[in-house]
């Protein structure tokens, strides 16, 4: 039995334990899991921090961009309105009664009169409180009916230097009427609008023209003061737009390229005052500092981070507590498995070292698996041994009960391992002794006739039963012996011999053999004598026919003699053959035909006879009628078929047709001679020979005869071989 240590070593080898793994296995599970959880938590925290921050920033930027786009639209609308309101303000100014009264009261004498400036809103202008709620034009000019500027209100109390404003052209006056018109004066964009005053007769009396440069002050008036982080600028309409005016010149001074601000600001823009009343396209660009966006993002991210900072330790502590609980359960399971191994399986258990409880549980389980398998093997082996032993005992009991010599001997040493009671009665207590010394006598070594070599295959495996008969040299008795190699209880291949005493049977057999031999001799003698007697009869008939030579009666004797010869030939063939019961028909027919050739003086050169009757053996009861029939038919052919020594052929064919027809045999005797007359019926003929043929066929052979006249004569006879009947 392998020791526990060995099994552990094997298990460790199988799992490929390395020093690092060994070290890890010695670290307690709880500590390990807490460390892993902490490590993973930190990694996860870092990844989430990175992903969330980036994602949040992206979301924020998109949101901010949308917001600034909306804001930008609002600002553009406000700016557009402020520009438009210039004209509405001019309309209000002109619609005042105070304005018309003032114009009517004024008499501008000459064209050279000096322009009058006002730093405070003059009487023809609106009151300051109304101006504040409408627009605050930088300049408000009052033009006479000829379009000459007479009076100017300057909000900054400065003097107008631009001649376009001091001497507005007809085109300007036309374009600025009914709308706010944006143009450029001295590289600065201006909003200009004008409104005429007509007398009741439709005659132009005066015109008010408002003009405001679109500068930082203008933007603040139009849109207000922006929140920190937000910026706004008017830029020119080019592929690479530059700042014309911004609400914060320190951050966005004029000339700044907007495309350069992308790293620091989210930028969106659209053309403003797109009313077809501006000679220049101006885009309003809204910007929000990315730092400002990042501040907002960071505040959200820091909240998320704060939550993660709380959740992560709580998660780790919870996990550690769960792990402590699981570890304790695993420890208990380890102990129960150890107890089971020791108490139930009876294994010696060693205390496992401290360390990873899960690893120890795995180890313990692996050991238990081995122990259970080992225990099962032991139980199985014990059961098998018991079965074999019981089986062996039963075998010995059976063998002891046999009335035959049964012994088992080692095939190498010839030591007798077992001898049954019967054997021991004959040979004494021979177990443990050498077989050739005890069971046989007169042997100086292993017996020459020992069958050991015959009991094994070349590979040394048992080859089966070897049966033989032998007269024991110890007691002289005959035995019918069955030897075989078998596996003995100890696993050896041994020889088991069962020898049944057959001495009496042997003696009876010898007697039967002797008796049979005597009968065979006697039967041959009978056949010989019958044949001799028939030879005598044949000779007598020959003598008689000789005396009747030349007379028709001689033919009768000759035919009779041939018939007796045919029958005698059967007896001759029987006693000269090995078998006294059946004759070889082919051999018989050939002999019969030869004797008929001799008798009729025919030469085989003239008449050729072919015999086909190979492997057909007939009993005497069938052979004699067959022989007579063949004798008659061949005699008939020789006598009548070939007159005048004509050449011809006679064919005798005997076939076994039992497998294809209801008959056993078909005998065909044919010739290519002159043929039997057409009107001759073989059953009504006077020919004794043909009568014999039909009688023998139909009455003795229980068959049928058929005459065919195709090309010569063919007799076809079918018959069943009669069964031998005991005549006793």
């Amino acid at each position: 039995m392998n020791t526990l240590h060995d099994r552990n070593s094997k298990a460790d080898t199988a799992t490929g334990t390395t020093p690092v793994r060994e070290f890890l296995n010695r670290v307690p599970l709880t500590l390990k899991m807490v460390l892993i959880t902490t490590l993973l938590g930190i990694c996860l925290w870092a990844v989430m921090e990175y992903i969330q921050s980036a994602r949040l920033k992206k979301i924020f930027y998109v949101q901010m961009f949308d917001k600034i786009s909306e804001q930008s639209m609002e600002w553009r609308i406000s700016l557009d309105q402020y520009i438009r309101f210039h004209h509405e303000t001019a309309e209000i100014i002109v619609s005042q009664k105070a304005f018309s009264d003032y114009v009517n009261s004024r008499r501008w004498s000459s064209a050279d009169e000096e322009v009058r400036y006002y730093a405070q809103p003059p009487a023809w202008l609106l009151r300051p409180s109304i101006l504040r709620s409408l627009v605050r034009p930088r300049y408000a000019t009052l033009l006479d009916a000829d379009g000459r500027v007479r009076e100017i209100y300057s909000r900054h109390d400065d003097r107008i230097s631009a001649s376009e404003l001091l001497h507005p052209s007809a085109l300007w006056l036309s374009k600025s009427r009914e709308q706010s018109f944006v143009t450029k004066i001295d590289n600065l964009h201006y909003v200009i609008t004008s409104e005429p005053l007509y007398d009741p007769h439709g005659k132009l009396q005066a015109t008010v023209m408002l003009a405001s440069p679109i500068d930082e002050e203008f933007l603040v008036s139009a849109i207000g003061i922006l929140q920190p982080g937000y910026l706004m600028a008017l830029v020119d309409h080019k592929e690479d737009p530059t700042v014309l005016i911004s609400n914060n010149h320190s951050v966005l001074p004029p000339g700044t390229h907007i495309h350069d601000l992308g790293d620091r600001f989210l930028v969106t823009g659209q053309d403003t005052y797109n009313y077809g009343a501006a000679e220049y396209m101006i885009n309003l660009v809204s910007l929000i500092s990315r730092t400002e966006a990042d501040k907002l993002t960071d505040s959200v991210i820091s909240t998320g981070r704060y939550q993660r900072n709380i959740i992560a330790p709580a998660f780790i502590l919870t996990f550690a507590a769960i792990m402590v609980y699981i570890t304790r359960r695993i420890s208990r399971l380890n102990k129960r498995m150890s107890d089971f191994s020791r108490q139930t399986l009876g294994m010696k258990t060693e205390e496992l070292p401290k360390g990873d409880k899960l690893y120890l549980l795995e180890k313990r389980f692996e050991r238990l698996k081995g122990e259970v398998a080992e225990a099962r093997e032991i139980i199985k082996k014990q059961a098998e041994e018991k079965t074999v032993k019981e089986s062996h005992e039963r075998l010995l009991t059976v063998l002891n009960g046999l009335e035959a010599i049964v012994y088992v001997a080692d095939m190498q040493t010839h030591e007798l391992l077992f001898a049954n009671n019967y054997t021991q009665k004959i040979f004494g207590d021979i177990e443990g002794r050498i077989c050739w010394q005890t069971i046989q006598s007169g042997q100086s070594g292993p017996c020459d006739f020992c069958s050991n070599e015959k009991l094994l295959t070349p590979a040394g495996e048992p080859s089966g039963v070897y049966t033989w008969e032998f007269q024991n040299t110890f007691n002289g008795r005959w035995y019918y012996i069955q030897d075989r190699a078998i596996k003995w209880i100890d696993g050896r291949i041994v020889r088991m011999e069962i020898a049944t005493d057959m001495t009496e049977r042997k003696q009876s057999e010898n007697q039967v053999k002797e008796s049979l031999y005597e009968k065979e001799v006697l039967l041959k003698e009978i056949h010989h004598r019958v044949k001799n007697n028939m030879q005598v009869i044949s000779s007598l008939l020959n003598i008689q026919s000789g005396k009747l030579k030349g007379r028709p009666e001689a033919e009768v004797f000759n035919e009779s003699r041939n018939r007796i010869t045919a029958m005698a030939l059967v007896h001759e063939k029987l006693y000269s053959s090995d078998s006294l019961a059946r004759i070889d028909l082919s051999d018989y027919i050939k002999s019969l035909v030869n004797s008929l050739f001799a008798f009729y003086g025919k030469s085989p050169r003239n008449i050729s006879v072919t015999v086909h009757a190979d492997s057909i053996f007939l009993g005497i009861d069938t052979a004699i009628p067959c022989g007579l029939i063949i004798n008659e038919l061949v005699s008939n052919s020789m006598k009548y078929a070939f007159p005048d020594d004509r050449n011809g052929e006679i064919s005798i064919r005997m076939e076994d047709i039992s497998s294809t027809a209801r008959w056993d045999y078909e005998l065909t005797v044919s010739d290519n001679g002159t043929g039997i007359p057409e009107d001759m019926d073989i059953r009504e003929t006077a020919s004794l020979g043909l009568q014999l043929v039909t009688n023998l066929t139909e009455h003795q052979l229980q068959g049928t005869v058929e005459l065919l006249r195709n090309s010569g004569t063919e007799f076809r006879i079918h018959f069943i071989e009669p069964k031998y009947k005991n005549r006793a």
Binding site: D271, Y275, G276, E279
Partner: protein
């Protein structure tokens, strides 16, 4: 007795009453009809300005030649925003084919007019018929074609059709809610306007002549995308824009257009026949006369005229040739009046 005399007197009055009734019908009905027509004409602004009404300019201005900001440009063209996306590639193709350097600016009618006033461009392309202030000495307008101005509404607004009078009431503030629709009863009409090119005839002025005819509640926007965005964001809103710009700024929001008097603006035949009455006019202006005229500019103008005939359908553009066939009035190449 008294009854009899009353019936007798009444029977005597019957012929007089019949005459009075006929007179009343003959007088009042034409008066009512005339007043409605007059009222319609009153609110509709002029479609075109007279080609002979030129802006007077000082002599020194007239002596000046065209001078580009970009010194190496063969031609400088300013396109109105309505035209820019469709025509800028065509002009650049022409420039490439003719080995010219043509600077194309994206602007407005005002910018185009400003460029001509300053004599800094060779060609200005307008989306409105010219006003007197655009008709500078030496400037000749050539009409490329017209396009329908669609009345646009929020996609949830179930209205499909309005009469021209209803449209005027909606924009003018006479109709203040969308009654008879699946919109909430209290959903007020929010007219959205872009009252651009106030001096120029045509365009929105075909709906209502001037800003005073629009509702006090009119929400004014400055740019085309703002118009689309505002209408798309307000279920009760109604605005106007060309079909092409409506599609071009679809990313700002989904809107849909209304038929007027059962006629759809997306069928050119309706616009040409004036069954659909709102349209804008696209023209280009080039210099003519000594010191100002440039053969390249003239050839480019002719090329644009040719291209107008085969502009892609998505621009919903009706070329000048189709208008000529339908009897619209032209002086030279400039469209000056609707068919009789």
């Amino acid at each position: 007795m008294a009854e009899r005399s009353f019936i007798k007197a009444f029977k005597g009055l019957l012929p007089i009453l019949r005459i009075a009734k006929i007179t009343l019908i003959c007088l009042v009905v034409p008066l009512l009809f005339a007043s409605s027509v007059i009222s319609g004409k009153n609110v509709r602004g002029p479609a075109f300005s007279g080609p002979d009404n030129l802006m007077e300019m000082p002599a020194d201005w007239q002596e000046r030649t065209v001078k580009h900001e970009s010194a190496d440009a063969d031609l400088v063209v300013t396109l109105d925003g309505q035209m820019y996306h469709a025509w800028e590639p065509i002009i650049q193709k022409y420039a490439k084919e003719n080995s010219l350097k043509i600077v194309v600016n994206n602007g407005t009618c005002g910018v185009a007019a400003g460029g001509l006033t300053q004599k800094s461009i060779d060609m200005g392309v307008f989306c409105c018929p010219p006003d007197r202030t655009d008709r500078l000495p030496g400037v000749r307008f050539h009409t490329l074609g017209i396009a329908a101005i669609a009345l646009i509404i929020h996609p949830d607004n179930p209205h499909d059709n309005v009469t021209l009078e209803q449209a005027r009431q909606l924009f003018g503030g006479a109709q203040r809610n969308w009654s008879g629709t699946t919109l909430k009863k209290e959903t007020l009409v929010l007219p959205v306007g872009r009252l651009h090119c106030k001096l120029r005839p045509g365009h929105w002025r075909l709906l209502l002549d001037n800003k005073e005819l629009f509702s006090p509640d009119l929400f004014e926007v400055g740019a085309m995308p703002d118009m689309i965005a505002k209408v798309a964001a307000n279920p009760g809103a109604i605005g106007y824009e060309t079909l092409w710009m409506m599609r071009y700024y679809e990313d700002r929001g989904r809107t849909r257009f209304l038929k007027i008097n059962g006629y759809s603006p997306d069928d050119p035949a309706n616009v040409v026949s004036l069954k659909y009455p709102l349209y804008r006019v696209y023209s280009y202006a080039v210099w003519e006369g000594r010191n100002l005229e440039k053969p390249h500019a003239r050839k480019l103008g002719e090329y644009l005229m040719q291209q107008a005939e085969q502009l892609e359908a998505k621009y919903s553009f009706i070329p000048a040739s189709a208008l000529r066939k339908a009897g619209w009035k032209f002086r030279g190449n400039e469209l000056t009046g609707e068919p009789e």
